[in-house]
């Protein structure tokens, strides 16, 4: 939810997750509290890299890795970190793993590194990582935090894959760069590839989530 600050998120999450159920945590990240469609976090990269399915998958994998690793380390260091500098410590941990991913992509997957451009570096400012570190890893043991990181990363990756699939399919009639829809009755709709299409796709996806699960913002007005 957009208006949730990390502080209130903390309160609402620790209540339901204190029991330490790994499965419950996992479900939370993937579905009931999905980072993109429910918590509305990490939208920037969800929009920017989803014009092709392949980009979306690589981005999802990168975020999942960083999320697991940073949650693990934030959780390991949670008792050693003074409260006042915890934000800086979190950012430093996250940035370290993002640099690892960035260098790996540069070294082994140059094409993709160029296509994703600055958005790999921008994983640092992806609110999901900071949000999970603040709301979960700071209060929970390392293993459970890793589960939470994995769940949120995968939840994020899944939404990215869905958006990427539809944008590539409608925008260029292809899946993974292979033409599947190109025939005389289908004209690719370029709008889905460029910026506005990303906004429309995500808007409709969130609306679909709301329609299926009930609206999360009942008490807004």
């Amino acid at each position: 939810m957009a208006e949730k600050s990390p502080a209130t998120c903390e309160a609402c999450l620790t209540g339901s997750l204190r029991g330490g159920k790994g499965m419950e945590t996992f479900r939370g990240g993937l579905w009931t509290n999905n980072p993109i469609s429910i918590q509305i976090l990490g939208i920037c990269s969800a929009l920017a890299v989803t014009n092709r399915l392949e980009n979306s998958l690589v981005m999802g994998a990168a975020v999942t890795f960083v999320c697991i690793a940073s949650n693990l380390f934030v959780s390991l260091l949670r008792n050693a970190t003074p409260r006042r500098i915890r934000m800086i410590a979190e950012v430093a941990i996250i940035a370290t793993f993002v640099i690892v991913i960035d260098q790996l992509l540069r070294g082994f997957y140059w094409d993709m590194s160029r296509r994703l451009g600055p958005y790999v570096g921008l994983i640092v400012t992806n609110c999901i990582l900071m949000g999970r570190a603040e709301a979960f890893a700071l209060q929970n043991p390392p293993l459970l935090s890793m589960v939470d990181g994995a769940a949120n990363g995968l939840g994020y990756a899944a939404v990215l894959a869905v958006i990427g699939f539809f944008r590539e399919l409608i925008g260029s009639g292809e899946v993974f760069g292979k033409p599947v829809l190109l025939s005389e009755w289908f004209t690719p709709n370029q709008l889905m590839i460029v910026a506005p299409g990303a906004f429309f796709a995500l808007g409709f996806l969130i609306a679909a989530f709301n329609a299926v699960k009930g609206h999360p913002q009942e008490k807004k007005r």
Binding site: D102, L122, F199
Partner: protein, 196 residues
């Protein structure tokens, strides 16, 4: 790109390559704050200020410190640190001189640190190989473009309060779609001037 005048980059960063509408940066605070017009104006101004200052600052640090020492892979951490320090400064400034604005912005002022638009501007400055003057122009233009977009959409979303939106679309979903329409409108500027 190195011979484009800084002024042209400024105009392009505001209209044709708007950092919010065509590069999708700064969406988190954008969605959270664009519900009220005055908070949007305040945050917009803060972003303009921070971005105008940090982009050239990061330019100097990257080309005069990191590159000669061969540690440019640390750019991410250093950029974040510079931005965080700067935001701290702006926060103290706003708290001292405009407590009202400080309370209106609340949690979102510290969140400028993780506003991807600020870091994104610095990274785009690197990727597009701007020189110093160009990065000043780009930082300022990108900030103004972001502020412009959030203020326009905050105005629209305030009006939206009176209209009858289908139930599942209420809140964020319809905001995304309005933003999409706004992005389409901004694409109309694309013939005017364009940067890569």
């Amino acid at each position: 790109m190195s011979d484009t005048p800084a002024l042209l980059i400024l105009v392009a960063a505001i209209f044709t390559n708007n950092i919010l509408l065509s590069n999708f940066l700064g969406m988190c605070s954008f969605l959270a704050v664009s519900r009220q017009l005055d908070a949007a104006v305040g945050l917009g101004m803060a972003v303009v200020f921070v971005m105008t200052c940090t982009t050239p600052l990061n330019y100097v640090i990257y080309y005069d410190v990191l590159l000669p020492w061969g540690i440019e892979y640390l750019a991410l951490i250093v950029f974040i640190a510079v931005i965080a320090a700067f935001v701290q400064f702006v926060e103290m400034f706003v708290e001292r001189f405009s407590p009202k604005l400080y309370y209106a912005l609340g949690i979102f002022l510290p969140l400028i640190t993780v506003n991807c638009a600020i870091l994104g501007a610095a990274l785009f400055m690197l990727v597009r190989k701007y020189n110093f003057a160009q990065s000043v122009g780009f930082g300022f233009g990108a900030g103004v473009g972001w502020a412009l977009a959030i203020i326009l959409i905050a105005g629209l979303r305030q009006k939206m309060g009176y209209s009858n939106v289908p139930r599942p679309f209420e809140g964020v979903a319809i905001a995304m779609i309005i933003t999409g329409v706004m992005a389409m409108a901004f694409m109309g500027f694309a013939g005017m001037v364009s940067i890569q």
